[in-house]
């Protein structure tokens, strides 16, 4: 039976998370086995005592068959035990949870701007494909695909901070001397707003601008292109001709087309969200942001393997949840999607 029942759809889509999670856990588990030699020695670091190495061996079950090791790994992960970072000395999960909000804030603001501006530009291009906007965006698209995000970030720092002093130095989320707002969500912009801490709010806003500009510039092209092409084909559809012929006002016609052009744009926004997380790894490093991206890079440079592993798992789960939201969004945008 084909129905458009939201509850049933969400339930079925949630059930799909189980095989996805198993897939992710297999991949991340196999990652650890990429390590050359005895992972226990590598994970424990150079300063480990033999006892510590033995403890890690036992923890990972390295003396047992691969399948049993996998079961142990999954058991540990389900208990929130991602191991210990030898660099910070904390549990990896604690480190990650502490840093996740900063990253989520960074990539989500970029995504919101990309969605709004990208769709707007896409509509403008579709309405007037030979206009100035279309030409400018075409040039931008060619450029943005070729420029590396980390380099754009550095150029922006050089011009807008070093030369013009318009923005604060790329040293974290707040000015020195500004205390972080009371933690509610962990995202400084939102927390400072909620606690009416205007000093922190202004500081955090100013620190956000350069990294956001970098991410938006590099990752908006895909969304604009998809919005433009999807809107273009929607505008050529028969129902739009009917709407025009019936004498609907132009903005109403455009709106009607936009509604029908949105589903593919939503998919691309989901993909962009996942890409933004990858971009955050580089951008956070440049701006000393202190999120999980920078944490991952520190882990890489210091061979802190369990921390890398924890970051990859977080990124995979994040991507999985984003695609879940995209699918649910499709269901509500497109009445033809059935259970």
């Amino acid at each position: 039976m084909r129905t458009h029942n939201p509850l049933l759809f969400v339930a079925k889509r949630l059930a799909l998370l189980i095989p996805q999670l198993i897939g992710i856990s297999v991949v991340t588990f196999l990652f650890l086995h990429l390590l050359p030699g005895n992972p226990a020695y590598l994970i424990a670091g150079n300063l480990a005592t033999p006892d510590e190495v033995r403890a890690i061996e036992h923890h990972l079950g390295l003396d047992k068959p691969l399948f049993v090791q996998y079961i142990i790994y999954v058991g540990n992960v389900l208990h929130g035990d991602l191991g210990q970072s030898w660099l910070s000395g904390n549990a990896v999960l604690t480190d990650l949870l502490q840093r996740v909000p900063a990253t989520i804030e960074l990539v989500s603001i970029a995504l919101i701007v990309i969605a709004v501006v990208g769709v707007l530009l896409g509509v403008m291009i579709a309405v007037n494909p030979r206009g100035l906007v279309a030409r400018a965006v075409f040039g931008y698209g060619l450029l943005a695909g070729a420029l590396p995000d980390f380099w754009i970030g550095l150029i922006l720092i050089f011009i807008l901070y070093y030369k013009l002093r318009l923005f604060p130095p790329p040293l974290g989320q707040l000015d020195l001397g500004v205390t972080a707002p009371r933690t509610i969500t962990g995202m400084y912009l939102i927390d400072s707003l909620l606690t009416a801490n205007w000093r922190a709010f202004g500081s955090s806003l100013r620190h956000l601008i350069l990294p956001e500009m970098t991410l938006i510039f590099v990752y908006m092209g895909l969304v604009v292109r998809m919005a433009a092409s999807s809107m273009q084909s929607a505008l050529h559809a028969d129902y739009i001709r009917t709407a025009r012929a019936s004498g609907l006002r132009p903005w109403r016609v455009t709106w009607q087309a936009l509604r029908n052009a949105l589903p593919p744009v939503l998919t691309v926004l989901g993909i962009s969200y996942a890409y933004l997380l990858g971009g955050a790894v580089l951008v956070e490093t440049i701006f000393a942001w202190g999120g999980i991206g920078q944490y991952a890079v520190q882990a890489v440079t210091n061979s802190d393997y369990l921390a890398i592993e924890g970051f990859v798992l977080t990124a995979a789960v994040f991507t999985m949840l984003v695609y879940l939201l995209v699918d649910i969004g499709h269901f509500f945008l497109d009445p033809r999607v059935h259970v």
């Binding site: 980390f150 720092i157 890398i308 592993e309 990859v312």
Partner: protein, 340 residues
């Protein structure tokens, strides 16, 4: 007949030759025909020629770059942090190495890593994709294998590309070889899917049925008839992938998970320059980034042009190919039949 040098021996007696099979017989003639028609296309799309120029220049520099550098690219000198001048066109870095020499020498590393990664990915993707397409829907063990392969590709694609590559390289050890493998791995699903989709269409063609009818073995049908006629999408994608692979290589090296200094590599030179950006020594980071962007830009333009050039729905607008060739493609006339 648009090919002037086609001899009379290729007369009416033989089956009409498709481009791929004539390639086996007369590669020179085929190459000549393809090259001239591609250049004719380029005249209408100067963008494509620009891209072609950049990629050829990069390829040449990749070979001769290290030979023509004015200074040894990995030797420290006392001329540290000099701004660009006539002696050091792009200035020097904090260890006194000449940036111009390093940027030039880096073409070789970046291009060879990106191209070998793409090549590995291309070969594996085409072979696996052809097999998966050929045997999909047949049932039995091959079906299970080809479906399983697709699910594994799903899993790889569900990770953000940069993060997946980062995990692969950092856990297996940062080295050029592991970057190549990471590039091959993260791009495999795209090549595989493109080829599989093309094969699904090709295998329904009459000439495949004919080949099967004459009793050819699966392997031979795949290698001689299916793959040559389904390779185009993957080929077009390869150029774009090389650009992406250069970005990936430099991104990984930038954070220390790729090629390590002092080996000249664009991303790692930019990494050296990144801390000097806020103190005003811009030249260390800016120039390698320009070189990197330019070459990625070139590969993207070529890929874009090839896609348009080979797209049958757009080819009408560029009526530059041989008319017969064009008709053969559009009517899906058999071009894989080899006289047995």
């Amino acid at each position: 007949m648009d090919v002037p040098q086609a001899g009379p021996a290729l007369g009416d007696l033989e089956a009409p030759e498709g481009p791929h099979h004539s390639a086996l017989g007369a590669p020179g003639r085929w190459l000549w025909r393809e090259a001239t028609s591609l250049l004719a296309y380029g005249r209408r799309r100067p963008r494509f020629l620009v891209g072609l120029f950049i990629t050829i220049l990069s390829a040449v520099l990749a070979v001769i770059g290290p030979l023509v550098v004015p200074y040894p690219p990995t030797t420290a000198t006392v001329d540290v942090l000099r701004p660009p001048s006539l002696t050091h066109l792009m200035g020097t870095d904090p260890t006194g190495m000449d940036i111009f020499s390093r940027v030039l020498a880096a073409v070789q590393i970046d291009l060879s890593v990106a191209v070998s990664g793409t090549f590995l990915s291309f070969v594996a993707g085409v072979v696996l994709g052809a097999a998966a397409g050929y045997w999909s829907g047949t049932g039995g063990v091959p079906l299970v294998l080809s479906e399983g392969l697709l699910r594994i590709m799903d899993m790889i694609q569900s990770f953000p590309v940069f993060i997946f590559a980062l995990a692969l390289v950092s856990l297996s050890g940062p080295s050029a070889q592991n970057v190549v493998l990471a590039i091959a791995f993260v791009n495999l699903p795209i090549f595989l899917r493109l080829t599989r989709a093309a094969v699904l269409a090709t295998r329904e063609q009459l000439y495949i049925e004919a080949a099967r009818g004459v009793g050819l073995a699966d392997r031979r049908i795949l290698l001689r008839h299916i793959i040559p006629n389904s390779i185009e999408p993957a080929l077009v994608n390869a150029s774009v992938t090389v650009g992406g692979a250069i970005l990936l290589t430099s991104g990984l090296s930038f954070i220390g998970a790729g090629i390590r200094p002092p080996t000249p590599e664009w991303g790692s030179i930019i990494a050296t320059g990144s801390q000097y950006m806020i103190t005003g020594q811009w030249w260390i980071g800016v120039f390698p980034g320009l070189a990197l962007s330019l070459s990625v830009f070139g590969f993207a333009l070529v890929g874009d042009g090839l896609r348009e050039y080979l797209d049958p729905t757009k080819r009408h607008a560029f009526a530059v190919r041989a008319t017969r060739d064009q008709q053969a493609r559009m009517t899906k006339e058999p071009r894989g039949v080899v006289p047995m």
